[in-house]
Amino acid sequence: MLLTQEELAKAYTIPKKPEVVRRQRLPVRYHVEDFDVAERPRRFLQTFAAILKHTNYRLALDHYVRVSAKCSRCTTHCQIYLATGNPKDVPCYRSELLLSVYRRHFTLSGILRGRILGDPGLTDEQIQEMADSFWNCTACRRCVRECPMGIDHGLVTHLGRYILSEIGIAPRALVVSTREQLIGKTQNTSAIPLPALIDSLEFLSEDMAEEKGIEIPFPIDQEGAEYLFLAPVSDYMMEADTLMGIAAVFRATGDSWTIGTKYYDAINYGLFYNDHVMEEVLGKIHAEAERLKVKKVLIGECGHASRTAKYFYPSFCGGRGAHPVINILEYTYQAWKRGKLKLRPGAITEPVTYHDPCNIARPGWIVEQPRELIRAFCSHYVEMTPNRRDNICCGGGGGTVSIDEIRPHRTTVGGKVKAEQIRATGAKYCIAPCANCKKQLRELMEDQGVDCEIVGLHDLLYKAIIFGESEGGAEPEAAGAASRDEKGD
């Protein structure tokens, strides 16, 4: 166990009024909008049945209840368990909460055994435990790589949260943001009105013109552009430097890109709690891509938004024929590889480290690209250990970073392992190309007293871009452009 008793006590304090907890019969730390508590177990099972009927989860659950060997290997990989030492935080224990319901109510042997033993089945207490446990997990899926049986605890958590949300149990922070995004006036999770967005983009352009002496635009509603760019919308308020870096990269490469005015938010909380939400949000991206007749969808520095788009856009928006989805790190990397983007070596001399966001690194998708880029313009790069696909989550994954009331949990139980990992590198900058990770890591550095500045990759890259030379035809002799074998996307 890594945490002190005081830290644990603080982390698990429920910040809600006791009467709310009593009324909702839900002793969890996150706020939940009022919902119907009557006959919760029956409705949970009805929802579970409906989901099993229409989705592919049954395949996984059938398999998991058959092979789960309870070997406890995942104990070595879960940062939550490593922090608390509480057996209830072991990934396999968490999954068993839902698997046991599945076994009891949806397999023949379970139903028969229930009848014979007179077991009444799912109880309200079990639902309460799931509501708590599934939101203690950061859905980072690190344990998946350590499970010999191939059980995807991230998938089980995902399903558990989906079922719970359909009976009304989901963090209010996420639900309210999603409501604004799907049926609100502004159509985005941060409720940024379009005029404000355009204002701030113009402001950023002016800023850059002043600094760099050239016009660096944010193209709006450019029909037929190559890329539709979607940032996690909170970036427009909190990560101006990242956006400036991205605009500067496009200015240097000369490729056409655009931000759509009808829909401009990449955030998709559906990944964290509800498949229906996920599909609706992707549908909005799809509609905007169609409206502007773009060729590709480009997601900004955001882990979950990138993973949702990359891995689920084809599911919901046209299979193989869907718009290709790429992440901005891939774009920048390829531009640099091909010599379309030139970076000044040694532009950053302070020690820099890199945090792999779970959602883009765990599947092995974006791992080496940012490292090569960083080495091209930072003279002092340090790795944290473990890294790459085995990296430790920032502690705010799975949507938990957006739940402000659980910050004490996130920056102790969730993030203490991470804080020590960053502290050990001695880096001045920690690059975290993900809006979620950035917010969580900043809070973590503050609460754990680590002196390290959290930045996006494009924040630093902005300082290293060399303009002018590459315009009107790519010169292949830029730093690191030795291998130009890649083509297409």
């Binding site: 019969r25 119907d36 989705t55 057996p87 059980i151 939400v277």
Partner: protein
């Protein structure tokens, strides 16, 4: 019935029954899983599956050379030895190979007796070690169901009795009792395999692909779920409170 006829029964008809049930049971879950995978594939509009990565992950655990040793190396080593004993000894012990040859007319290569003996002893030690590990590791205890404690002990029984029967100096009666225990335990194991976690002996190679396919969400599934539940017009993002779909009932128990 005499001890001998019990033994003949256990080695003959009972073994054949248990063995057949095991094969049928394993075939059943294997076929069901493959059909499930097919269904998931058909339902999904997205046919982009990272086959290569899933195969690498499968191979990594099938031949655990690197992945096991980084964390908890002793546990890993014991587990590998246990699996090696469980797989090799029953199938390739010279005495067992001989039995197969007599029964079906053909057989396969056998392990050197000395190696088989060592593997047997190692499997017994490993089984007891794993049991102890489970009992004394608090996280493992929290995870364990009844079968988690029963299996390592049950698996040790035929190994221990088999070793004693072939090496200890025993009275004929003691030998027969031990042999009876050996065969009955073996039969019980065969019978239980398809219905317990040991089913992983055939399902294991499919695990990664199953997870990979389960992440493929069928289009419009969310909408259909809402329709099935009767609130298609009130999805989760619509303002609450949403009430029970058919009738409103009072809470069954109030805190």
């Amino acid at each position: 019935m005499s001890l001998e006829s019990w033994l003949d029964f256990a080695r003959g008809p009972l073994f054949r029954l248990c063995f057949s049930l095991m094969i049928l049971g394993l075939l059943r879950i294997l076929v069901l899983t493959i059909l499930g995978m097919k269904e998931a594939w058909d339902r999904s509009a997205d046919k982009i599956v990272p086959w290569r990565d899933l195969t690498v992950q499968t191979a990594k655990w099938l031949v655990p050379v690197s992945s096991l040793w980084r964390k908890r190396p002793i546990y890993s080593a014991v587990s590998v030895v246990f699996h090696a004993g469980l797989l090799l000894v029953p199938l390739f012990l010279p005495a067992h190979v001989l039995l197969w040859k007599r029964a079906v007319g053909f057989a396969w290569a056998e392990l050197p007796q000395a190696l088989a003996d060592w593997l047997t002893l190692a499997a017994v030690a490993a089984g007891l070690g794993l049991f102890a590990g489970r009992v004394f590791h608090s996280a493992a205890r929290a995870l364990s169901r009844r079968q988690e404690y029963v299996w390592p002990l049950l698996l040790v029984v035929p190994f221990a009795t088999g070793y004693l029967c072939s090496h200890a100096v025993l009275s004929p009666r003691a030998y027969q009792w031990l042999m009876l225990l050996h065969v009955f335990a073996g039969n019980l194991i065969l019978l239980l395999i398809p219905f317990t976690k040991i089913a992983h002996c055939v399902l294991f190679p499919l695990s990664q692909y199953v997870s990979g396919l389960a992440w493929k969400f069928p289009p419009r599934a969310g909408q259909r779920v809402a329709e099935t539940l009767g609130y298609a017009d009130r999805p989760t993002w619509v303002e609450r409170p949403r009430v029970a779909t058919d009738r409103i009932l009072t809470p069954t128990e109030e805190a």
